[in-house]
Amino acid sequence: MTRLSMDDTMKKLLLRLQEGLLISVAPYKALSQELGVEEGETIKRLGWLRRKGYLRRIGFSMNTRKLGLTSTLVALSVPPRRIAKAQKVIAAYGNITHNYLRCHRLNMWFTLTASSKKMLGETLKRLKQELMADELISLPTKEVFKLRFRLHAV
């Protein structure tokens, strides 16, 4: 095998990983057959994609709705001097998966999941205090039309 790079096979692999693997004893074997390479090469390529930062992880995605969980998108306005503190507060929550600064008056946006509407409300109340926020704007999920990553490496 030549030195690894973002060649056509690597691009195909990256795309296939996003589309999903079949659950089996050897999931990379089936994928390798599809790509026409040896399983050992696929595993080396996965290591390369990880090391180079293209691939964050391979793992299971769960249907939170089906699991009875409820989620919301939360927005608030955080003054610059308090951003680091707010980031730290949010880092401690295992049920907050995404937190971003965005160019807007409401500059901090995060997603929160809870086991019930009641728990969600309680967590929001606690967060409001911990974040010293005048107001948290909560935008509860009503329907998921699409959640699918299929990005081509460019």
Binding site: L14, Q18, E19, G20, L21, L22, I23, S24, V25, P27, Y28, K29, I43, G47, G53, Y54, L55, R56, R57, I58, G59, F60, S61, M62, N63, K66, L67, G68, L69, L73, Q87, I90, A91, G94, N95, I96, T97, H98, N99, Y100, L101, R102, H104, W109, T113, E135, I137, L139, T141, K142, V144, F145, K146, L147, R148, F149, L151, H152, A153, V154
Partner: protein
Amino acid sequence: MLSKKEKDVLAFFSVNDLEASSRPFVKASKALGMSETGLIDMLKSLQKKGFIKGLRGVVDHRRAGYRENALIAWRARPGQKKAKNRLVQDVFMADDRISHCYERCPHEKFNYNIFTMMHARSRKEVLDFVRSQATDGKFDHEVLFTEKELKKDKLHLGELLC
């Protein structure tokens, strides 16, 4: 609904990635006190029942060349429900640059109900896309470019499934 073991399995894989080896379930099954095939059968059944959506790779979109990311919030003007459905079904569903499309309950201080995440090579690409979809006055919208990622993590199911 879910057995204790099924909850354990879901909680385990909510925090543990699949390793890159030829038999990636061997270690996981040992950690869970199951046989390798027992674990795989349970995972397949959880997928069949809809609790597991899939086994997928998560790509770093910035590294993959999509430097600009934006949350775009949309609201159809009154009487434009058809146009909204068309936008969601024909445009957002079909465009690979749109990774998320959610309907949310609006808030009086952020009065939009359709939320999309878009990944693009430049801000111009995002703005061109939005302009091309919202020229006919059927939608109000706001584009919120991502300034900085402060956190991106897996959802830890352990505590949530108790």
